[in-house]
């Protein structure tokens, strides 16, 4: 009897310990870009003080998240400061982990989300429009929507709700979720050179799952990719293809260059703002876009910008079919942008959606005039960029 009782207690504890998903919310609703959502975070005042004071640290603090006007509450989530250049103690960039303190807790099927403070973009819509464009042209990218964020009932400003690149994202976009996911961290100017042994790649690629695996398992294929990419013996493609999905890579750099991305794979200071996913049981890897606050740099951003600076793109585009694929993708991007006037209307609709909330956002780094001017520039970019790229592609063929 005692054993039965002990088993029953144990079973009950196990059941209680595994949280039921807060599933009244769907991901479709969460990332509905037609709506300006509302998220409220409740954080103990002492924790909030510490979070603001120590915003450069990744310390988690407990919080409750309340979604929308219906007041759906997700209890005991973990929040921490996030970002690199966008980290700020006044307008906090936040990562929200639903399962930080409650095993298995999900919200809208997600283990975590990012609340992007949109601090580096005066128009505040670059990030969301860029990611929507990636998804439109077949580059797997996180879903995003806008929200007004309140912390302890105090308005914090306009934020982007960003789908975190986690196994659920991989399952949605790549069809599997058991591979290896890495976040790239900018440490030094890196243009896909061969850095040497495994240890050189550890600071650059942070594993987001399988963290406890051996370094050789985690970083072996990453090292091999950049080692093979730097061998110059006429068999480059055969050497690199087992470690990198070249087709997907071409599509990504073409889409980034269409969007005049200044801080991506071909960034002004080397590679930046991407994740790397390695498919389960293989050495094949795919690079995924992240953090697109620096897109839409200028309308006449050259389509061949910095292609020669990066080992991967320089060597890859030496192959005629891959170069043709690059130009084809750029052309496809241009056509997709003008189809149904998508880019113009997306920029205009997004800006209109957040305009009032952005004007009321006193924590943003830019003035309201700068916001309006930023939106005006993006409207101009959206109208003119497709034609510029199409012309440049035609000239390059």
């Amino acid at each position: 009897m005692r054993r039965v009782l002990a088993c029953a207690i144990g079973l009950a504890a196990a059941v209680m310990a595994t949280a039921q998903p807060v599933d009244a919310q769907s991901a479709d609703e969460l990332f509905d870009a037609q709506t300006l959502h509302e998220i409220r975070l409740l954080i103990n005042s002492k924790d909030l003080q510490l979070l603001r004071a120590n915003f450069t640290e990744n310390t988690y603090y407990p919080a409750d998240l309340i979604w929308g006007g219906g007041g759906q509450r997700v209890r005991n989530v973990g929040v921490r400061s996030r970002g690199l250049g966008s980290r700020n103690g006044n307008k906090l960039g936040l990562r929200v982990d639903f399962d930080r303190y409650t095993t298995g807790q999900r919200f809208a099927g997600l283990a975590s989300i990012v609340l992007d403070n949109l601090l580096q973009d005066p128009a505040m819509v670059r990030e969301r429009v860029a990611m929507a464009f990636f998804n439109r042209v077949g580059v797997p990218a996180p879903l995003e929507s806008f929200c007004r964020l309140f912390i302890n009932n105090e308005y914090q400003g306009v934020y982007a709700i960003v789908e975190e690149l986690e196994p659920a994202f991989a399952a949605r976009t790549l069809g599997e979720d058991s591979g290896f996911l890495f976040e790239y961290h900018y440490v030094q100017s890196f243009h896909a050179e061969d850095l040497g042994d495994l240890s050189a790649y550890k600071p650059l690629f942070e594993p987001r799952n399988h963290e406890d695996d051996a370094d050789a398992v985690l970083y072996g294929s990453i090292r091999d990719l950049f080692r093979e990419a730097n061998v110059d013996d006429g068999t480059w493609r055969e050497r690199v293809e087992p470690f990198l999905d070249l087709t997907a890579f071409v599509r990504l750099i073409a889409a980034e260059n269409f969007l005049a991305e200044n801080d991506g794979i071909l960034g002004y200071a080397g590679m930046n703002n991407f994740y790397l996913y390695r498919f389960a049981g293989t050495t094949r890897q795919q690079i995924l876009p992240w953090d697109k606050d620096n897109t839409f740099l200028q309308t006449d951003f050259p389509i061949a910008s910095r292609l020669d600076e990066n080992v991967l793109t320089r060597r890859l585009l030496a192959y005629d079919d891959l170069r043709a694929a690059y130009l084809d993708t750029l052309d496809q991007c241009a056509r997709s942008a003008v189809e149904d006037d998508w880019l113009v209307s997306e920029v205009a609709r997004s800006a209109a959606l957040i305009a009032d909330a952005a004007h009321a956002d006193t924590r943003k780094l830019f003035s309201n005039d700068e916001f309006d001017a930023g939106v005006a520039f993006l409207n101009e970019f959206a109208a003119q960029r497709p034609a510029f790229v199409a012309t440049a592609v035609a000239a390059a063929r």
Binding site: A17, D47, P62, T102, N152
Partner: protein, 420 residues
């Protein structure tokens, strides 16, 4: 390690042979005299003496669960204590005891003014008056380890002053004290963890049939409490298995009043004993929610029921530590068998939400452990004691315990104890 065991055993045997009745060594004298009967002692006149005490314990351990000690998984020197105790003119008694090679070396350091049986005053560092098991001397423990409840929920030692005595024809015994903190058991070396501040503690025990000649004469029951304020932080109270592996790490903030309540009873008819205790510790969590409101209290509960039988017939109430027929003196010593069932559990008072490990969760992810212990104690003579325990532990949520995939495990422990 075997050499240590042999050394301790040889010392005990030598002591057994060397010691003689006190009267045969020195005649009573008003001059300072050295005597050695139970232990070395200097007598300085009537009612004044200083006794020298030492205690060494060596444990051999095996467990299905991983052991926590880094240096020696199989054997561990549990205690090496030296001390003096004595009396001054039968009015003041004192005790000083130190653990050798320990960061927190001083154990009991106190003096007790005992001129009047009804009102005695004790000051220094000593155990707070709470818990029968915690306040039982290691020499007289029925098992190798104290109950989980006493070990982790009772306060233990601290600095303070206490008034105590026996009243109502010694039927009633009371202890009330004020202490600097709420005891060593609630503290850890982790600076993030907080302990109680100034603590008031009290204990009331009654022997209702003390004047009776029936078997009920040895029935004793009592209640105890402590109260202290705990500043904001993670509590030092924690849940550990018999062999010191964590099964509950209380990374939940507390702030406010800590209250302990204990109920205890023991009955020792002839060679038998029955003992039980219940301890509850409640920690307030004021203004700790994500909305700066109060959270439900953090509650720790523990209880045990144990029984013993002195197979060789000694009266339990008189203690078995001085066997009637010691080994090497024509006897076997004293042999006692024992069993104990106990539980230690941690939870918050709230319900209705998914349990969480958030430090500000209203409903925490608690845990509990059931322990069943079978023991044999062999008192070879007044100095040497050998104990063997078989311990069955069952953890409610194994994921928080030492064997995440296994809730039930067994441990075997043997202890050699030399007390001088």
């Amino acid at each position: 390690m075997t050499r240590r065991v042999v050394t301790i055993a040889a010392t005990a045997i030598a002591l057994a042979g060397a010691a003689r009745p006190a009267a045969a060594q020195q005649p009573p004298s008003s001059q300072p005299t050295f005597r050695w009967d139970d232990h070395p002692s200097i007598h300085l006149g009537k009612g004044t003496h200083i006794d020298f005490r030492a205690r060494f314990q060596l444990d051999g351990r095996r467990s299905d669960a991983p052991l926590t000690d880094d240096d020696d998984a199989e054997f561990d020197i549990a205690r090496r204590r030296l001390g003096v105790e004595g009396e001054i003119k039968n009015i003041v008694e004192f005790q000083i005891e130190r653990e050798i090679a320990s960061d927190d070396g001083w154990r009991d350091v106190y003096a007790n003014y005992k001129q009047f049986d009804a009102v005695q005053v004790q000051g220094g560092k000593f155990k707070l008056p709470f818990s029968l098991d915690e306040n039982t001397s290691p020499t007289n423990l029925d098992f190798i380890y104290r109950s989980r409840a006493a070990t982790f929920l009772a306060p233990g030692r601290d600095r303070g002053v206490m008034v105590h005595g026996r009243v109502a024809k010694r039927i009633l015994r009371y202890e009330v004290g004020l202490f600097e903190h709420d005891g060593r058991n609630a503290r850890t070396n982790d600076i993030k963890r907080v302990a109680g501040g100034r603590t008031i503690a009290g204990r009331l025990r009654v022997e209702p049939f003390r004047r009776s000649k029936s078997v009920m004469r040895e029935l004793e029951a009592g209640i105890a409490f402590t109260g202290s304020d705990v500043e904001e932080g993670f509590p030092g109270l924690r849940g550990r298995t018999a062999l010191d592996s964590a099964f509950f790490r209380p990374d939940y903030l507390v702030n406010g009043r800590r209250r302990r309540v204990g109920v205890e009873a023991q009955w020792r008819p002839g060679p038998f004993s029955l003992k039980s205790e219940y301890i509850r510790v409640s920690d307030e969590r004021l203004a700790l929610s994500v909305e700066d409101t109060d959270l439900s209290a953090l509650t720790s509960n523990g209880w045990y029921v144990s029984g013993t039988w002195a197979v060789t017939g000694e009266k339990k109430a008189s203690g078995l530590d001085t066997p009637k027929k010691p080994l090497f003196r024509g006897g076997f010593g004293a042999l006692e068998v024992a069993a104990r069932v106990e539980r230690l559990a941690f939870r918050s008072d709230a319900a209705g939400q998914t349990p969480s490990t958030s430090p500000r969760a209203d409903v925490i992810l608690g845990n509990g452990e059931d322990v069943l212990t079978f023991g044999v104690s062999w008192y070879l003579n007044r100095w040497l004691k050998v104990q063997g325990n078989v311990i069955r532990e069952s953890i409610d949520d194994p994921a928080q315990g030492p064997l995440p995939s296994q809730g039930l495990f067994w441990s075997r422990v043997v202890r050699f104890q030399l007390s001088i």
